[in-house]
């Protein structure tokens, strides 16, 4: 069972190596490794389903000397989302990068990106995470610049530099932790912090946590550190934008969540969590407002990512105030569900936007009317993804927002509900501003799909966010070990 933890790293890495050595077969080998990865992650998820948690000490060296891998419900959920989204993106990319000269650059970097994502969700070691973060940052910036236009190069160079600043700050935190606690392992660190031997250790740990969260917040584009995201995500090739928005920023958020709520839980305070929530609120309002004003479809999607990441940070102050128990674990499941739903919805939205851009030759929203009316499948994708971004039933984000609302009320922190409402109204506005373009007087086209290989994956992703995740939440609750539900 634990073999699948290692294979989650080795399968995409081996694919990347083969694709590097045999660029002429890049698309075939690449797609095959992504499929193999999906299969392996399915096995891994099954293992977590049965055993609650899978653990592995690499090379049989137990921490603190060695590196530990841990897959719990949260990791498995993120891994499963990554596997499905990357499979859809890969199918789409096979169609998008038809030019072999571009395909041979795309596939190895894409598989290395997948390797680093899997590693990030599994590693329980602060320094191994640093190496994974750098692998992620470098491959993401290189992928984002594949389009080759000047704006893409500029935006992604900035993304690369910001990412490096973030990882250096994170690494300083790691160095402080090692100097104080002589371990990099999550479980051992959490145990030492919970014991709370000396006040000085607490101070050192809190400073290190602050540095690490700051570095990761830069990578997760938390308002006001989001300035690099819209140009970078808006200028990348569509499959890459989808991966960046749905997976890459999510990985940094996942790490913050993991460090804040588990490893460093004894050191976090309500005030600090309120600060994260406040920044999240800023992101919701500012991101939604900018999405409403965006003139290009991909820029709208990118700003909406800023806003949706903000929602994820709203959970921190509420989770912080709740004692351990059912309400709290339900809320924890809700933040996971929110992250998953956004991952599916946003990747679907970006893939659809890329197809629209290819068909229309541009993505200026004001002039998209006739194009959208000829693409019923893509229009449906946009509508489904929009439903999830707004948080209407039956999307996964509706369930998540509902639980967030309940948690905020139970906690007496009603002010977050105002942010939630304002963000939702703004999301309604920007989604409807887009959708009104799709309904005109043109005759209905005969074919639902214009190009199934490009439109199918996007539609499936959006349907996953809105249909499946909202209705069938029970498996997720089980995976995360909560009773869940809307009770």
């Amino acid at each position: 069972m634990t073999d699948s933890l290692v294979l989650a790293l080795v399968v995409p890495l081996a694919g990347a190596l083969l694709v590097t050595a045999l660029p002429a077969h890049a698309a075939r080998i690449g797609l095959f490794s992504v499929m193999l990865n999906t299969l392996n992650i399915a096995l891994l998820t099954l293992g977590v389903w049965q055993h609650d948690e899978l653990q592995l000490a690499l090379g049989d060296w137990a921490p603190p000397l060695g590196i530990g891998f841990v897959a719990d419900g949260l990791s498995a959920a993120m891994l499963a989302m990554t596997a499905l989204v990357s499979l859809a993106i890969s199918v789409y990319a096979g169609d998008y990068f038809r030019d072999p000269a571009r395909a041979r650059h795309f596939w190895p970097l894409w598989l290395l990106l997948l390797t680093s994502l899997n590693g990030l969700f599994l590693a329980a070691d602060l320094f191994n995470l640093y190496v994974n973060l750098e692998l992620l940052g470098l491959s993401a910036a290189a992928l984002g610049a594949l389009g080759g236009q000047r704006t893409a190069l500029e935006a992604n160079l900035r993304y690369l530099l910001v990412g490096l600043l973030g990882s250096m700050t994170y690494l300083l935190g790691v160095a402080l932790i090692y100097s104080g606690f002589s371990t990099l392992d999550f479980a051992q660190l959490a145990a030492q912090l919970a014991r709370g031997d000396a006040a000085a250790s607490g101070l050192l740990g809190a400073t290190a946590l602050g540095l690490m969260v700051m570095g990761l917040a830069l990578k997760a584009a938390l308002f006001p550190l989001h300035f690099w995201l819209p140009p970078a995500h808006g200028s990348a090739p569509a499959p890459v934008s989808a991966a960046l928005s749905a997976l890459v920023v999510k990985a940094a958020f996942y790490l913050i969540l993991r460090l804040w709520l588990e490893v460093f839980a004894p050191l976090t305070t309500q005030g600090a969590a309120n600060l994260l929530g406040l920044l999240g609120a800023g992101a919701v309002l500012w991101g939604s407002w900018q999405a409403l004003r965006a003139e290009r479809l991909k820029l709208l999607a990118a700003y909406s990512t800023v806003a949706q990441l903000g929602y994820l940070f709203l959970f921190f102050p509420i989770l912080q105030g709740l004692p351990a128990g059912e309400t709290r674990s339900n809320l924890f499941a809700a933040v996971t569900l929110m992250a998953l739903a956004h991952g599916f919805a946003k990747s679907g939205l970006f893939l659809a936007a890329g197809f629209v851009q290819q068909q229309a030759g541009h993505d200026r929203i004001a002039e998209l009317g006739t194009t959208l009316q000829q693409l019923p499948a893509t229009t449906l994708t946009l509508a489904l993804a929009g439903t999830a971004l707004i948080g209407l039933p039956p999307s996964g984000s509706f369930v998540a927002k509902w639980l967030l609302l309940g948690g905020a009320m139970a906690n007496g922190q009603w002010w977050w509900v105002l942010v939630l409402l304002a963000g939702t109204l703004l999301a309604v506005a920007y989604v409807f501003r887009l959708m009104t373009r799709a309904f005109g007087l043109e005759p209905t086209p005969r074919h639902f799909f214009t190009q199934a290989r490009a439109e199918g994956p996007a539609l499936l992703l959006a349907a996953m966010a809105t249909g499946v995740l909202g209705v069938a939440t029970a498996p997720l609750w089980h995976l995360l070990g909560t009773s869940g539900g809307l009770g």
């Binding site: 190496v131 910036a141 600043l165 250096m168």
Partner: protein, 92 residues
């Protein structure tokens, strides 16, 4: 004041000097030098904490720093390539 603490202190100063230069200078090469010096500060802190008066030094931070050095050079090389592509001087 202890020599080990002095060494650690230099690491913090290098880190902060690096951020300062990164934020205030616009030339790509200077930004990259700044990032590298920031990194050197962190590495230096790790090396300083590995040293324990006379006893053999802790090998784990040393290995972490070795890894970090290679990662930093990789990132520098990639960023410089971006700069070259932006300037579009493939033929000097």
């Amino acid at each position: 004041m202890d020599a080990e603490l002095l060494y650690a202190s230099a690491g913090f100063i290098l880190f902060v000097l690096g951020i300062w230069s990164l934020l205030l200078h616009r030339l790509l090469i200077r930004k990259l030098i700044a990032l590298n010096i920031m990194g050197s500060g962190v590495f230096h802190l790790l090396i300083a904490t590995a040293e324990h008066h006379g006893e053999p030094a802790d090998p784990v931070p040393h290995a972490l720093v070795l890894t970090g050095i290679v990662v930093a050079v990789s990132a520098t090389a990639l960023a410089l390539s971006f700069g070259r592509a932006l300037r579009g001087d493939g033929d000097d």
